[in-house]
Symmetry: C2
Subunit: 241 residues, 2 copies
């Protein structure tokens, strides 16, 4: 099933941007009268009929719309420190999108080696991953903030299950497995923070606990940052399976 | 923690091959008398003291050995069809190793586009992934066989939970989720078959069912081959967590 992506669907009219129009008309050779399927990135699938087949700007009329198309039964916000190697972060984003998550917050920790992230690239990857895995919702990517800023801005979220995956190797903070904590949670709103290669700083971890984040571990295996982030996404996926 | 890999540990003597020796002596500048940690790829960690620090062939005496170091509490055999793009297969192998699995069988399906796989490359990736994730066991990689040969050779394995992830879109074969099937299994030996981009053929699926493979789904999300394989590994990981 071929999906197109448009942010410009209004009053029963859907317009594709130049990239999508080129792909639609030049590559797939769609013409006026053809039916196409378009996602709005916000969860709705639109069945449309092309009325103008310009390769610069396809226009189509909406025939039918389906909300929450390909949606998952939870709301997962992943706050993940950028990895030293960008490819690994982009790989994680693609895979987590296939499995199902909603918001990505790149967070910069005190121990982060990489302190910048091009969100535009990640957004593009998420759009194609959403199309490829037949989801009408594309995860939101926030601008990078520091770990401490992120914790502050989420300190007062009652009802949301807030988790931090941190080793606490030197401290005696008891951690439960993410599986156990998720299975005891009746709601659907989850935040998981995943630290950088050098882990969170003790100060960041302490601040997170004070802000109501629950310390969890991801099992006995020692996982890279991007694998840990994807494993957290899988944990939520299986919790609601 | 720096780990070395050696297949040549005998009679209390550990020898590193040329690559590992060069890394040990030239890069990490280890010298005679230094202690190093070596995995044998079969599950045992050896603490050794270097007795000869040649960059062509390091020799060391074994001081202590620890069996099942970094082991996981299940035995997972993944039979996964090669992906069109080799990188995706190698990525899956690395990540699955971090999470924990034991045997990889590349299987060629009737719908497989890619019909060859260089196992040597995958083996190298698995060795470094095992070192990186602190596991003394490196998953075994079998030579590629056809899906039907694989099914035949595993048709008589009582006690092993044999699963096939197949869509059965056109047929009316009832599938349970892999989570549900795993949670109902008391043993520890699991085989999961993951098909190619074009899925298994109807004949392959039928043959698998006759051979005692249980049809499972991996949840509502539509996953690429490599993501499906990793998600199956995560399902086992969480089952025994």
């Amino acid at each position: 099933m071929e999906l197109f992506y448009s942010k410009d669907i209004e009053g029963g009219i859907c317009r594709l941007d130049q990239d999508e129009s080129g792909h639609c008309v030049r590559v797939l050779r769609h013409r006026s009268g053809d039916e196409i399927s378009v996602i709005d990135g916000c969860g709705t699938l639109y069945r449309c009929r092309i009325t103008s087949d310009s390769h610069k700007g396809v226009e189509a009329v909406v025939l039918e719309s389906t909300e929450d198309w390909g949606a998952h039964p939870y709301r997962l916000h992943l706050a993940v420190c950028p990895t030293k190697n960008n490819d690994r972060y982009e790989w994680f984003a693609e895979k987590a999108c296939e499995i199902g998550f909603d918001v990505l917050s790149p967070v910069i920790g005190e121990h982060s080696e990489r302190r910048v992230l091009k969100t535009v690239r990640v957004e593009k990857i998420l759009v194609s991953a959403a199309k490829q895995s037949l989801k009408a919702a594309v995860p939101t990517v926030n601008e990078p903030v520091s770990v401490k800023e992120f914790i502050k801005s989420h300190s007062n979220e009652d009802g949301t299950l807030k988790l931090i995956a941190y080793c606490f190797e030197d401290e005696n903070v008891p951690r439960r497995s993410i599986k156990e904590v998720l299975s005891g949670y009746e709601g659907k709103d989850i935040i998981v923070m995943i630290g950088p290669e050098g882990d969170f700083s003790a100060a960041e971890a302490e601040m997170a606990l004070e802000a109501g984040f629950i310390p969890v571990h991801l099992g006995a295996s020692r996982l890279r940052t991007e694998t840990a982030a994807l494993t957290a996404a899988s944990a939520a996926y299986f919790r609601y399976m």
